[in-house]
Symmetry: C2
Subunit: 252 residues, 2 copies
């Protein structure tokens, strides 16, 4: 893990880093309290499709969890996203925006292949983060990611026993995504599952089917009115209390 | 409103009162901070079927809202419940426990008639409470009630413009309860709607249909695994933040 840049604003230190994973350079950001020392809970944030590691919802939740709970928070650019985006990826994203993201066989394959790589990259990132003094390798680790952050995050959390609890959302057992169910069944940690009643990419029924599939005994589904890109701002407060309930808070 | 008894424990004053409404004596409890003076937000709590105004979930939420938020909280015995229960009511409740509460035509009629009376009793109670110095008639008023507390609470909130926000749950557009939809459509205040995935009295689909029917722009449905009588304890924290968001808190 190579630190590229480090700045501190309003008590939050933001470190841009790079990590080599399977011959690819994965760019990431680590947010920690200024002068953080010793172990603390860690949250990994997976951004949505066509987005990147520092989109406003990722950045604001990261800063909030650092300031209010003393956590470390990390985000990486997913394969083909952010600083890793090629001209071909840009054209792919334009096509998605044109047709509203309808799932085709080609897109499903691309998503599955990238999801596989994302799991390996998250595991390598977690290995590197847990070697840092201000995180440590024995503390709780939460995951947060909706939409593509869930499409990639659900298989990752299913394969990663170090994850203590997770927030997913904007995901469903829609046509072509049935494989998500077998990952969901393997997950047994407490979950918060965020959904939008008028999500143009899935029905409430198919989202409920994914909620039912999760193997977790403690899991809560939240449904709010509105489109895919419209989880209400007040839910951020529930993210914070959910993590605090399952991972505690840090004071140093 | 006649005060029958007043005790103060750990900073919470609990007043048992009686109110005459349409020739019936309605017994209630008002919880306020010790030495409360001047206006503050008020929460009305409707208990569940076969229960009463001081069941553990009503009592603990009342104390919590008084201690943490400085609110006034009131609960009354619904028609045929608590101190108003007759031998015929007791036999009726035993029958409900025997067959799991299946909805028959007789039960539906009884529920509708009692719901009508409950709305009048809540309105009279709210009138009386708002004449008290430590509540006042200009502050926000929240409602909380699940199961029968929603079956009675939804028509009440639909008919009562003084209600600022409400928490409902364990209710659905099941067979014979379609009338609930017309009340739900009239409600436009922010809502939290609590549901149980394995509720033996309704399907997730019929609960979702009621959620969709509510006229409110801001409404959130929570679904947790488990039976009708099993909303997880951690949701209480969300009740508190929901009310705080819509009604603020009191300091004196």
């Amino acid at each position: 893990m190579k630190t590229i840049e480090e700045i501190t604003e309003h008590g939050v230190t933001e470190r841009r880093f790079q990590l080599e994973v399977d011959g690819e350079t994965v760019p990431g950001i680590l947010w920690t309290p200024e002068h953080a020392q010793g172990p603390r809970p860690l949250v990994l944030q997976g951004h949505g499709g066509t987005q990147h590691k520092r989109v406003p919802n990722v950045l604001s939740l990261a800063r909030r969890l650092v300031r209010h709970s003393g956590y470390a928070v990390a985000a990486i650019d997913a394969p083909g996203h952010g600083d890793r985006m090629t001209d071909e990826d840009r054209e792919h994203n334009r096509a998605i925006r044109r047709d509203g993201g309808a799932m085709t066989e080609e897109r499903r394959k691309r998503l599955t292949e990238r999801g596989r790589r994302a799991t390996g990259e998250w595991k390598a990132t977690l290995d590197a983060l847990q070697r840092r003094d201000e995180i440590g390798d024995s503390g709780p680790v939460g995951y947060w990611g909706v939409s593509m952050g869930s499409a990639f995050g659900i298989p990752f959390v299913a394969a990663e026993p170090r994850i203590t609890c997770a927030i997913f959302g904007l995901a469903a057992l829609t046509m072509g995504r049935e494989a998500l169910a077998s990952s969901a069944e393997k997950i047994e940690v407490p979950l918060l599952f965020m959904n939008q009643l008028n999500d143009e990419l899935m029905t409430p029924d198919s989202a409920l089917a994914l909620f039912v599939a999760f193997g977790s005994k403690e899991k809560t589904m939240h449904i709010n009115p509105g489109p895919h890109m419209g989880i209400p701002g007040f839910e951020v407060e529930h993210y914070e209390t959910f993590y605090a309930r399952h991972m505690g808070t840090a004071t140093s």
